[in-house]
Symmetry: D2
Subunit: 280 residues, 4 copies
Amino acid sequence: LPAAASGSFPRVARESNPGGSHIQVGNVRFGDGNFVIIGGPCSVESREQIIATAKAVQAHGALMIRGGAFKPRTSPYAFQGLGWEGAALLAEASRVTGMPTVSEVMTIDQVDRMATQVDMLQIGARNMQNFDLLKAVGRCGHPVLLKRGLSATIEELLSAAEYILSEGNPNVVLCERGIRTYETATRNTLDLSAVPVLRERTHLPVIVDPSHGVGVRRWVPAMCRASKAVGAHGLILEVHPNPPEAKSDKEQALTFEDFAAIMADLATIPLSHSIPQVTA
Amino acid sequence: LPAAASGSFPRVARESNPGGSHIQVGNVRFGDGNFVIIGGPCSVESREQIIATAKAVQAHGALMIRGGAFKPRTSPYAFQGLGWEGAALLAEASRVTGMPTVSEVMTIDQVDRMATQVDMLQIGARNMQNFDLLKAVGRCGHPVLLKRGLSATIEELLSAAEYILSEGNPNVVLCERGIRTYETATRNTLDLSAVPVLRERTHLPVIVDPSHGVGVRRWVPAMCRASKAVGAHGLILEVHPNPPEAKSDKEQALTFEDFAAIMADLATIPLSHSIPQVTA
Amino acid sequence: LPAAASGSFPRVARESNPGGSHIQVGNVRFGDGNFVIIGGPCSVESREQIIATAKAVQAHGALMIRGGAFKPRTSPYAFQGLGWEGAALLAEASRVTGMPTVSEVMTIDQVDRMATQVDMLQIGARNMQNFDLLKAVGRCGHPVLLKRGLSATIEELLSAAEYILSEGNPNVVLCERGIRTYETATRNTLDLSAVPVLRERTHLPVIVDPSHGVGVRRWVPAMCRASKAVGAHGLILEVHPNPPEAKSDKEQALTFEDFAAIMADLATIPLSHSIPQVTA
Amino acid sequence: LPAAASGSFPRVARESNPGGSHIQVGNVRFGDGNFVIIGGPCSVESREQIIATAKAVQAHGALMIRGGAFKPRTSPYAFQGLGWEGAALLAEASRVTGMPTVSEVMTIDQVDRMATQVDMLQIGARNMQNFDLLKAVGRCGHPVLLKRGLSATIEELLSAAEYILSEGNPNVVLCERGIRTYETATRNTLDLSAVPVLRERTHLPVIVDPSHGVGVRRWVPAMCRASKAVGAHGLILEVHPNPPEAKSDKEQALTFEDFAAIMADLATIPLSHSIPQVTA
């Protein structure tokens, strides 16, 4: 990969670790040579829901569980998540399955406590430029999944990651999740070209969230294939035992059967090391 | 694939041909079961250039040649293409290689004459809503490659295709080529989610133009893989014997070696019929 | 006004006529010191409709009439305009009122004939980069109203104007009409900041189309005030005798009473020469 | 103004207070019949800087002072503001001039302390959907200036305000500050059409920030005029004693002389009550 300008994100720039970083989260490793699937519901809703989902996604090849405890919702009157009870249920699902977990933190004072409950802290799209929260997860040292903001440029995503690394935490995985454009057929516009650009400019691993990217379940399988083919280091997918009953994001949640079919299909897509390099 | 609303584009809507259309262009067929690569320069520049390029892309598996004779350029002082001389050279490259050709028409009075020179007429992004031009290629009956406008919605692309079909020409292939967003790292934002959406809503084949999508040669290979994986019916790629000397779009043109490497890689990506269908 | 780079549009750049151009259209003059209102229906629908509207807008202070004869419509099945019959009716309204007229041309072969019917040729937003049409109106010499494309940058608008001037026609008025963004509350996002940017970069007059900018009648009056205050040289407004019965754009058409109220209000907004110049 | 749907923001919707709210901030009142100018530097940099600026803007008619103590900066290595020292200096400028103040809070734990230092808490664009911060300023009860997010829809801005009101704090003023679009000539695209839309949908006052909207000093005067003409209840403007030396946003800061000229010009633009109402 060609060298990137190290401008305003020296710790994040590819030159600072040309071979690429490997980020360890429990027994899972993000980086070249791996393709990590994180599956789980948008929101943790109950013990039965999260444990059943964790077992199902594990059975089909997922390596990590996701589940929201604190949910950023556009309306104050929408379901806001189970809070610490949700985090505890996610931790229980981790103990039952042995898989590491990721869940979102929305405030500074949630950071250290959430780090005792889950293996990776998610910074959501709406908080990508909540700079004090970035510093807080930087100081915490726990692995971080940093999602691209709804209208963040790639440069801004890298600068946001630099906030975390500059506080001493190198354990950051980036996530493309769709950007806001004029197109309304899809929930967002999944910017898969961000993957090769990010892989050139930074040593940090990059995963993709097709569920939020398109927002409609039946278009998710195609975007999963494309995400692996384009060179992402993994995927994060929303899976629910019964999508029509989900308390959030029910249009985009996959059933267990859907998830199984996608996992089988992904096995046919080659890993990123086979992507040709062209004339500079 | 689920049924699409037939609203304002009844002839284009999937319901009007649920099995999907196959569009024949010379000896090439677009539609399910095929993945067609169109290669060639942005602009036809000389006999040597177009014939060398045609032979090179054919040797590596391309099935069609592209080459611009009339070029839509932002500035009136930029190279505007060789015009009919370019079209004649492209026709000669077709005779030499046996491959069908595609070239852009920009005005109504070019349509019938260009149809005598090339096998497929391209409507460029800037003319996607040049409705009289759409009607003219509709009346002509020649196969049409219709590119999505720079800020066209998927609905508008389908309505533009309906203009062509409503004049009696069913031979239309759609092309996603990147949309205009706030992101400046790439030339455009290639909207690969448009592929599954279009495949659901229309029976017409859909190809992708990664060259214009990202605008930078070294990100093209990853986008080619993603485009095949996401379910496109083919690709159109810019290839030039010597990109730094190209008269237009030199940053995104592939060398022959680049093209060869991409073609070899694409062979490892499965065709669209293996994309799982999920719960409706 | 500071000097603009003359880069790719030397004839259009402010430096080529620092004092600003005055464009004469019949008995109307666009440029500093004037604020020209063009009023009329989206489409010419009948003799009664266009003559009644012309008389009404004239009575309240409009200086020009607009009316579409050839209409660019997203769907081929929507009303496409009355064509040359519409142009003739518009010419009749001009004879009755003495006001000059503007109407859109969509194809090269309409240009010379339309120039015999109306005083100013409009290039619509969808054709802003229909370069052969730009050249044709350039050769024609008739005054041109050039609307900004739906997702055109200011640079691209100026380059489009350069196409017209480079063919020998200096009589161009630019029009900001709203750009495509993610916001859906309004039909487009009226980019009023384009007015001071354009006034700095070019000597050509700039008017605003609030009707298409917001797409909803009740927000038009506020945008008219803002358009005059920001320094535009005029407005083009959609007015209809009975908006709910309009064959196109009925949501944004003003009644005669609405138009009268807006005209009275605009008289209270100062002209652009009073805008302060600040530290460079 | 027509009634707005009360959907997801019942406390914020126009129907809940059809006459419009008046928000008191110290001795300043936002709402119909007033046009409030807030002036001051992007960042508080020193006692001399903030006091000189406060006196200058007051002398020319500003009613409030702005000044950042905690600055959201894209890069962790950029100047981050003077923190509490900056807040104390702003408070001192308030004592000297008698004008109320506004400054941004970026974290929950800054809220109550900042409320002892300034008269109004600003929620910046990047934090518009930092929902826990919204709740915190809601519980605090202090007046809030809520800026629209970089790619927030008008609906999302209203929902963000609902978070604050739902915690019992009705003292919210909204601020349009430009949205992110594809256009690069200006820093953002100032969406002035948001003003009439917001005035229809909510009873809360709406001000405009032309400085961030365009990002270039010499286009600010025109946008100030337009902002008053379009019906905003006020402006927030960046003013600095010596813009080339400003530690942040130096391209868009006005000199004292610039500010004086703008204030004199704004006196010629009529208040919003004269905007005509049109046929519903």
